[in-house]
Symmetry: C2
Subunit: 421 residues, 2 copies
């Protein structure tokens, strides 16, 4: 048993949301209620911004029905942000807010940038001798965090993408007369995990099922090879189904399609248009009709098509974070998902150092990609298939999925306001 640390806990969500990120939030809240060491359960609104602004809400005030409803409500119920903590005065402010509200447990649900932030906060608290236990909880549809077998949120996005591919393929199959290229643009900035997941739309023993061509950022894109690939497929089939990740790069590592060259506040390029780019290439060079679908934000919010396995693991990751902090006395760690060795898929949680995960990026292994550069082999399927297993049941109201909204009862502010950029 760890040394007893009594105080309040704070949970926040950061970065792009997923269909099941609130399931992790529900896991934290549910588990926190089991431990007397945790007195108040606070939420920070809009990630680190809410902490800087001292915008805290009392999560214990929410009804049990609402907490249960979080398990199938997509996106960040507490709000999220893409703000990156940099200035020393901002870090000081975070610690001041924690001290003012006696925060002793900080759970941050996010991707690699968020885990980097958590790492810095954890180390700052240690250097100031402020007892604080910080545990990160992974989430990202991109599945690109290192140190964890996979990321909560990934199974649900690829379940939705694979279902969509299979459905659009039915449409193409019925419409196609050997003259149709169907393009689906999916998310994935640096790694091709989401695009790769589309391969799960293929039935077993039906390698010629859609998708026929999958373009991942892991493989440098060659325009001529792309045109050859499309012609090869169309010479044999009624239509050619292409899946492309937004982060398509050429041989020099430059993005092929960027929306006006903008970057976000983390310095990431704002991507978009990979689908249109591939459509225009086909229409202009091959004279073949092409149709584009772009799921956009819908893919990371598709709770109506979420994976039960993913949902369960997200909840479990939230619970594990609380247990690690309270029972084991851990800090400066992120919860990881560890796959069992057996033939039957199993998954349990572990812990890794925050600094090991911060800012790392896990790519799709090159040896999981076939030599043609546009399809995945059995190793990918073996990895990904268990993650989409099971259909999360979502309640409906008036024919549409029913989601919950937090009441967001504010915690009284104790400090003066803080100016930050």
């Amino acid at each position: 048993m760890a040394e007893e640390l009594i105080g309040n806990c704070l949970i926040a969500q950061s970065g792009g949301p997923t269909a099941v990120i609130n399931s992790s939030l529900a896991g934290v809240i549910t588990e926190a209620l089991n431990h007397e060491e945790i007195e108040e359960i606070y939420g920070g609104l809009n990630g680190i911004l809410g902490i800087l602004r001292e915008d805290l809400v009392d999560l214990a005030e929410e009804s049990q029905q609402t907490i249960r409803g979080l398990r199938h409500t997509p996106a960040s119920a507490l709000g999220t942000c893409r703000f990156k903590l940099k200035k020393a005065t901002d870090f000081d402010r975070v610690l001041a807010v924690f001290q003012a509200h006696n925060i002793r447990y900080f759970f941050y649900i996010g991707g690699n940038d968020s885990q980097d932030t958590a790492d810095h906060i954890s180390k700052l608290a240690a250097s100031r001798n402020y007892p604080l236990r910080v545990i990160g909880i992974p989430k990202t549809v991109d599945n690109d965090l290192v140190a964890t077998d996979h990321c909560p949120g990934y199974g649900s996005v690829i379940k939705y993408v694979a279902a969509t591919v299979r459905e659009i393929a039915c449409d193409n199959e019925g419409m196609g007369q050997g003259d149709l290229v169907s393009i689906l643009e999916v998310m994935g900035r640096n790694a091709g995990w989401i695009a790769a997941g589309a391969t799960l739309a293929k039935r077993r023993e039906h390698p010629n099922d859609a998708p026929h061509l999958i373009y991942l950022p892991e493989v440098a894109f060659s325009p001529q090879k792309y045109l050859d690939d499309v012609q090869r497929v169309l010479s044999k089939r009624k239509y050619c189904f292409v899946v492309v990740g937004e982060g398509l790069v050429d041989q020099d590592g430059n993005y092929l399609a960027t929306a006006s060259g903008q970057t976000d506040s983390f310095g990431h390029a704002q991507l978009g248009g990979a689908g249109e780019y591939l459509r225009d290439m086909v229409e202009q060079n091959l004279g073949v009709k092409a149709r584009v679908a772009k799921l956009g934000l819908g893919q990371r919010a598709a709770a109506h098509c979420a994976s039960q396995t993913d949902n369960n693991e997200s909840f479990m990751a939230g619970q594990a974070a609380v247990k690690a902090a309270v029972v084991q006395g851990e800090t400066n760690k992120m919860v990881t998902l560890i796959r069992g060795d057996g033939d039957q898929y199993s998954c349990e949680t572990g812990l890794c150092d925050l600094e090991d995960v911060a800012n790392g990026v896990k790519m799709v292994p090159v040896n999981w990609i076939n030599d043609d550069g546009v399809s995945l082999n059995f190793q990918f399927t073996k990895y990904a298939l268990p993650l989409i297993t099971g259909e999360a049941e979502v309640p409906y109201e008036n024919g549409v999925p029913k989601f919950v909204h937090l009441n967001k009862i504010r915690v009284d502010k104790m400090l003066d306001s803080h100016v930050f950029e």
Copy 2:
């Protein structure tokens, strides 16, 4: 009882498919098996093209499991086409194929162009004294057929669109900081039924829920009003959710966004890019970030989110077509859906003349659109809500919806091949 007409029946599908068009096919097949007047049950591949080519399949050879599976398999299992019959020699060919295969019942599942084709075939047969009963079965996600309360396929597409709006709105709500415009482009060439259906994402008594602005082709688009609309919403809320139909027209009736001015073989403009058009306007004129999602073909194939009501009515329309032809001896009619008068929604089938529905277009009534031009009133909701009720259950295999594929056992050809353009 009608005069007994014994022979074979032929079913074909035409135009853009829907999530439930195969449910109508299953309805026809299931009902045809009940009537001894119908000897063989044939399907024509790729609509009228399969008839011109004498590409017929024996649907009675398919397993019962497959026919049952059609009820939740999206898109046209028999294949479809956008070919328009024009030449007298082609019409003669259709009749020759019918005669060669003793086709006495022709069921054509399609939109207004397809019903026009069915009308011509029916009249040609009558003029040649060839006993043939022709019944059209409506289908179109566009919901723009006249003479029927609504169209099979519509309830499912708007259920999926409304679910997607609600999900993306959760994402926007969590991400938004008063600086986000979220745009969803949906189908709808001439009528705004699909875009209008997005309003069902709003919870009751929550008029400020997304979508905030809905642009329909029924209302002439004004760029300045659009920018004013967006600013008005952003002045009050964290994000602005825009839904736009692909067929956005200006005050002179010209499409605002067309993909390289192409037209299809019916002479319809090929649309695309309305979402990008609205995004660029906002970013360039207001300096506000905008994100676009374009569901593309996915929306009309989304069987995983289909409406049970729509699915049931589509099946019922198929059954009704057979009963009308065989039992009532009707011909040259299309099945219609008639809404009951009661407080509780009910629906039964009727019949209308094919020529009444051919080439007509039903718009969203102007008095269902609020004065602001960008939202729908209670009359629309009263009309549309029952159509999305109930969730069609889809079987899953390996985490993805399981669809059936017809074996397509070919019927021996009796004629020489026919050349057509």
